[in-house]
């Protein structure tokens, strides 16, 4: 018998850990799905600047990856998500969200189509239970392949150029939301033109044993281009600028929320464009049809805030100082030189251009400075450069 036990099991290390450990000057780790991921390598602003000006490398191995295999693979995903995926082609990626029966959002993610019998879903939260229950009655097998695939996000304006320099053939012609197999420094990798930064960028999926070689090759031209590894703090900055929302940060996943009024439907999150009510039956359709007819009582919007102090955790008010909502994510954007945030507002302030007020508590040398800042409601997508969509990409 093995009698040895310990009270704590250390966090798992990703296949890139040998390198991320070396690079992580701060030794500051974030816990993501049981893995150690660097929160900040040395300086968040520097890592952010790399992502916006050259390229940043993010270890996204802990992303949950579910293989959907079987004759009903597409039918199954179509039943799961609110978008019509029946037309998905091999090599295509689709951004998807899925809801529970009440029409409240559980999680978002991307689906990769290898062929009509094999799809793969990537998402931030664990969903195997939900997928397996959804698979009842379909000829599919859902398998959690998270641990078998190592992944890096390679994001930034020079990402295509560097991949091109690395002899990744034809990479510039890969369209946004498509993926293909490539050869990178002698390793077979899958590269998709997707990402969480709202800029030109790629996600690289490889075998665990090729991880170090792939990591090293991305830094090969660093004498000229200064590619930096980027941590979760820098990722948080770029994703807010890009207008991407995150479960359990900007909304509670319907599978995890304990209080029913904390769940959010796609219309409240500004994701109505992802809901196709004319497609075949999917989980939540019945209630989403009703919800679409109702006027929204609250909505997640983008906020452009007066001043330069980030409105993290602020409460939002109308001009009569009546509480109307809360800020879910806020930051000073160095690229846009503006103070931006996501926040929930009530039905009278959803329109673009509406004025609301944020009460910001800004810590200043052991004292709070209370700021009453005017905000205007804007689109959530703050940062969206043309190079992000350009085909062929800039090399």
């Amino acid at each position: 018998m093995n009698n040895s036990f310990s009270f704590t099991k250390p966090l798992l290390e990703t296949p890139f850990h040998e390198r991320t450990y070396e690079a992580c000057y701060n030794n500051d780790w974030y816990r993501w799905a049981g893995y150690k991921i660097a929160r900040e390598y040395s300086n968040t602003e520097l890592e952010y600047t790399a992502m916006r000006n050259t390229a940043g490398v993010l270890d996204i191995t802990p992303m949950h990856k579910y293989d959907i295999k079987g004759a009903d693979a597409i039918k199954f995903v179509d039943k799961l998500v609110t978008r019509n995926v029946t037309e998905i082609k091999s090599g295509q990626v689709m951004y998807i969200i899925w809801c529970n029966e009440d029409g409240n959002v559980i999680d978002d993610g991307t689906v990769f189509c290898f062929d009509s019998n094999h799809l793969r879903i990537f998402c931030a939260e664990r969903n195997l239970n939900w997928f397996s229950d959804t698979a009842i009655g379909f000829d599919v097998e859902v398998e959690d392949v998270s641990d078998t695939i190592a992944a890096l996000a390679f994001q930034g304006p020079l990402s295509c150029k560097i991949l091109n320099l690395l002899n990744v053939k034809n990479i510039e012609n890969l369209k946004p939301f498509y993926f293909d197999d490539f050869d990178l420094n002698g390793c077979k990798v899958t590269i998709s033109r997707t990402g969480f930064s709202g800029d030109l960028g790629y996600e690289i999926w490889c075998k665990n044993e090729d991880a170090i070689s792939v990591w090293d090759s991305l830094f090969k031209f660093n004498r000229d281009y200064k590619v930096l590894p980027a941590g979760m703090n820098a990722l948080e900055m770029v994703r807010v600028e890009a207008g991407f929302i995150q479960p359990n940060a900007d909304f509670m996943s319907a599978e995890q929320a304990l209080r029913p009024n904390r769940m959010r439907n796609p219309f409240e999150l500004g994701m109505g464009w992802l809901v196709d009510l004319n497609k075949n039956y999917f989980t939540g359709k019945k209630n989403l049809v009703d919800l679409k007819k109702k006027t929204l009582t609250k909505k997640l919007v983008g906020l452009d805030i007066q001043g330069d102090k980030p409105a993290i955790g602020s409460v939002l008010y109308d001009k009569n100082k009546k509480e109307i909502g809360i800020v879910t994510a806020g930051m000073w954007s160095p690229s846009l030189k503006s103070n931006i945030a996501f926040g929930y507002v009530d039905k009278d302030h959803m329109k673009i251009g509406s004025k609301v007020f944020a009460e910001i508590y800004h810590p200043e040398e052991l004292e709070y400075k209370k700021i009453w800042a005017e905000c205007s409601v804007v689109k959530k997508q703050f940062f969206n450069p043309p190079r992000r969509h350009k085909v062929p990409a800039e090399i």
């Binding site: 039918k75 039943k79 799961l80 529970n100 029966e101 939900w130 229950d133 959804t134 009842i136 009655g137 379909f138 075949n280 039956y281 989980t283 939540g284 019945k286």
Partner: protein, 492 residues
């Protein structure tokens, strides 16, 4: 393609009751039954059933009450059997027993207590259960009247009801009586047909619920099940209900969340806009409707709905007329229970928990001359394997040999929960199409999202024992489902 106003899947008693009600209103009704014989599981009932007076009134049926005196004999290994005489529900008399005077007194007191509580529950048994948060006035009124009924019991009784309703039967029995046979006799009524032992919480609720639906603590009633079945069959015939037996529905075709047609195993498709399914909820949703038309949460609840059957049926033919040792022959017309004490039941239940055969099972049986028909428990439903029927028979034989001597078994047939599942298409072969436990009762029967006989599919209704008020031959499920359908059609 043939077309009907309403199709009823399954010709069990509830299906036939629903067909009678709907055809009376001038609907063109078709009943499809998988087996040759109509009536489904109600054919299994050896005793008399409690058929709700409301059902008899609604359908205008008159069946003769069985006026015979009824007896319940609890068999004891030392052959000092206990015999009860049942006159109606309240009047229970102990004819012979080994128990002390005070035990007898307390036993009757206990039965009267349960009877009082069961009558309180009875008032919500035969109505459509209220739906929580529906906002409808009748639903709110029903919830209020439920609370009021309990409050009207008086302070002392209300407290006692609230104390025992979640309790296990063994605790309450041990508080009041000492005689093992009497304890076993009442425990039998609390655990038979369930996945509960005498010490499982909720067994008192099950006892009260059984008592409320059957109007009798020992489930002995006044109406002959078979004459009831004959009467409803006649009504169906009179109202031109088409009944097709030996045909199985393979699938319910649905378009845009509306019922469209049914597909039979013969390949025929029959068009309809309304279906009442007398098939158990699990089979209805997972096999007939198909998961693709239902929300994942709903599928999850369907999957988790507990339907593991625990009772097997055995029919034994003896060579000669059966006599029970040390028991007067005039009691032979009654019911026999072999569950000699709480420990015995609990041990039988333990095996069930691990999907094993109890080597010392409990028995409940009826005798008709040289025929004996028994319910044996606990015989768990098995997934992917089958029970050794020879072993079941030899276990039963070992028990019967104690009481039936100088008689030979000529033949026997055993139907385990697995056989019942195959024959009647009931998931898990469960008596009541699903455990009768607190989370699967009233507005939660069969589960959230499917209460009040309706389903997420427009035009599809449930009327099986998987709906409120559950199992037993009452006919209430059929009537309520039919009424709900008629109401919805009126509102359209």
């Amino acid at each position: 393609m043939r077309k009907f106003d309403i199709i009823i899947i399954g010709g069990g008693h509830n299906g036939l009751v629903a067909a009678s009600v709907l055809s009376k209103k001038g609907n063109k009704v078709l009943v499809i039954e998988k087996n040759e014989q109509l009536g489904g599981l109600s054919n299994y009932v050896d005793s008399l059933s409690y058929i709700s007076e409301e059902v008899l009134k609604e359908l205008n049926i008159k069946i003769e009450k069985d006026i015979n005196e009824n007896y319940v004999s609890a068999l004891s290994d030392d052959l000092n059997h206990t015999v009860l005489k049942i006159n109606g529900n309240k009047n229970i008399e102990i004819l012979q027993t080994n128990a002390s005077e005070s035990d007898q007194l307390n036993f009757i007191k206990l039965i009267n207590k349960y009877d009082l509580f069961a009558r309180t529950l009875r008032s919500f048994m035969f109505k459509k259960p209220p739906r929580v948060k529906s906002g409808s006035r009748s639903d709110i009124w029903q919830l209020v009247s439920m609370g009021l009924k309990v409050r009207l019991l008086g302070k002392k009784n209300m407290r006692e009801l609230l104390r025992v309703i979640g309790l296990n039967i063994a605790d309450d029995l041990e508080d009041n009586i000492t005689d093992n046979i009497l304890k076993g006799l009442l425990s039998n009524e609390a655990v038979i047909g369930t996945n509960l032992g005498a010490r499982s919480p909720g067994s008192i609720l099950n006892l009260l619920y059984n008592q409320a639906t059957n109007n009798s603590i020992f489930r002995i009633n006044k109406y002959n099940t078979h004459s009831f079945l004959n009467s409803i069959r006649e009504i169906c015939k009179k109202n031109n209900v088409e009944i097709e037996t030996n045909k199985k529905v393979e699938k319910i075709n649905i378009s845009n969340q509306n019922v469209n047609s049914v597909l039979l195993d013969t390949g025929e498709e029959i068009q309809t806009s309304s279906i009442i399914s007398n098939v158990d909820p699990k089979t209805t949703y997972l096999k007939l409707v198909g998961a693709a038309n239902l929300d994942t949460d709903f599928i999850r609840r369907t999957k988790n709905y507990r339907t593991k059957g625990t009772v097997a049926k055995i029919h034994i033919d003896f060579e000669n007329e059966i006599k029970i040792n040390n028991l007067d022959t005039k009691y032979l017309s009654g019911k026999f229970v072999y569950a000699p004490d709480i420990k015995y039941i609990e041990h039988a239940f333990n095996d069930n928990k691990y999907n094993k055969l109890s080597s010392n099972p409990c028995l409940e049986f009826y005798i008709n001359k040289n025929k004996l028909s028994a319910n044996i428990y606990f015989i768990p439903y098995l997934i992917n394997s089958a029970h050794d029927k020879k072993k079941i028979l030899s276990n039963v034989k070992l028990i019967l040999e104690k009481f039936v001597t100088e008689n030979q078994i000529l033949s026997s047939t055993i139907e385990t929960p697995n056989d019942i599942e195959d024959k009647y298409n009931i998931s898990g072969g469960h008596w009541s199409h699903g455990d009768m436990e607190i989370d699967q009762l009233l507005m939660m029967r069969p589960f959230y999202g499917s209460s009040q006989y309706s389903t997420p599919i427009n035009g599809l209704y449930l009327c099986s024992a998987g709906t409120h008020p559950g199992g037993g031959v009452t006919g209430i499920n059929g009537i309520n489902a039919a009424k709900q359908l008629l109401k919805d059609n009126r509102n359209e």
